[in-house]
């Protein structure tokens, strides 16, 4: 079974690109997605996760639009005071840069995995996991700070009580995804180093783990814009 990626079982060549490619992929009684099943399923899982996070964000939009009380100013709620200077959203900015950096290292890990360079690929995955852990750590700090200030899912001292439920729900679910991603990346990286994937012709598992990780970063882009900056 060493057929090339884009040939049908009877070796009729299939148009490679554009609408003709789409029709060829969906119009015949054949395999629609010419990628490995693992990659296709990860994409479909991420699609479903997109709907989960979007529903949270749309729910947040709805409570923010319907409340008659003033919404707490995120710029002030999430500011840090360092050396007597109040810096708005400083911690959130650092968290954003940590997550973007982890996406960059992950993209390079995938690139090394394509070349079957497993030591650099695993090293970059460990770096990615470390940055993800740092992100979760900073989020835990942020949660503790807000809880100490009296923010609860049903009330807070700054304004509209819906703020707390939206904040804990959205960032909590995202933090859970980051934590799960760290475990996932560490598992794949350790198995890569142990030679678990040597029997296969490629290290595509790294690319699939990378898709998940980039998705976590993607969700943060939306949370950062819509929850923290809006």
């Amino acid at each position: 079974m060493n057929a090339p990626d884009y040939a049908s079982p009877d070796n009729v060549p299939i148009p490679a690109i554009g609408w003709r490619g789409l029709l060829a992929d969906w119009g015949s009684d054949g395999q629609a997605f010419r990628v490995s099943w693992g990659k296709a399923m990860m994409w479909i899982f991420l699609l479903s996760d997109t709907f989960v996070f979007s529903c949270f964000l749309i729910g947040y939009m709805t409570v923010r639009m319907t409340t008659t009380m003033a919404w707490p100013e995120p710029s002030e709620v999430f500011s840090l005071t360092i050396g007597g200077v109040q810096l708005p959203l400083l911690l959130i900015a650092i968290m954003t840069f940590a997550l973007i950096s982890s996406s960059g290292t992950m993209a390079m890990a995938v690139n090394f995995a394509y070349r079957r360079a497993r030591i650099p690929a695993a090293a970059l995955m460990f770096t990615t996991a470390a940055l993800g852990t740092a992100f979760v750590g900073m989020q835990a700090f942020e949660w503790s700070k807000l809880i100490a200030e009296g923010v609860r899912p049903w009330t807070n001292p700054m304004g509209a009580p819906q703020f707390g439920s939206a904040f804990f729900m959205i960032t909590g679910f995202h933090g859970l995804h980051v934590s799960a991603g760290v475990v996932y990346l560490l598992t794949v990286a350790v198995r890569l180093l142990r030679g678990h994937y040597e029997s296969r012709s490629n290290y595509q598992i790294v690319e699939i783990a990378g898709l998940y990780w980039h998705f976590v970063d993607l969700v943060w882009v939306f949370i950062f814009a819509l929850f923290y900056l809006w």
Binding site: M61, T68, F97, I100, G104, A107, V221, A225, L229
Partner: protein, 104 residues
């Protein structure tokens, strides 16, 4: 551009996109830092958000090099969320008016 499962790109591409994401994130942070308000603020926030999302999906997640069948299957369904968002926005306006009318 080859459309294969084993895509090989120059590592510099990732570094450039990474740098670009850093710059765009700094810009969106500055939107808040300089207290830009109203439509300028919202336009910048949404615009920067969408550019960053596109870069991550297209380059980091390799969507730009996938076949159109996969691209359509993944990117078209989320458009239905725009309908949900519009419906909830209409509903939210109504709820807000009703609350203002009866509570205040």
């Amino acid at each position: 551009m080859t459309t294969g499962s084993a895509q090989q790109h120059d590592i510099g591409l990732y570094l450039r996109v990474w740098a670009l994401l850093f710059i765009l994130s700094t810009l969106s942070y500055l939107v808040d830092y300089f207290h830009l308000q109203s439509y300028l603020r919202w336009a910048l926030i949404i615009g920067l958000m969408l550019i960053k999302a596109t870069l991550i999906v297209a380059v980091f997640m390799h969507m730009a090099w996938e076949r159109l069948a996969l691209i359509c299957a993944i990117l078209i369904p989320p458009l239905s969320l725009a309908v949900l968002m519009a419906l909830m926005a209409i509903e939210a306006h109504y709820t807000f008016q009703a609350r203002t009318f009866f509570f205040n």
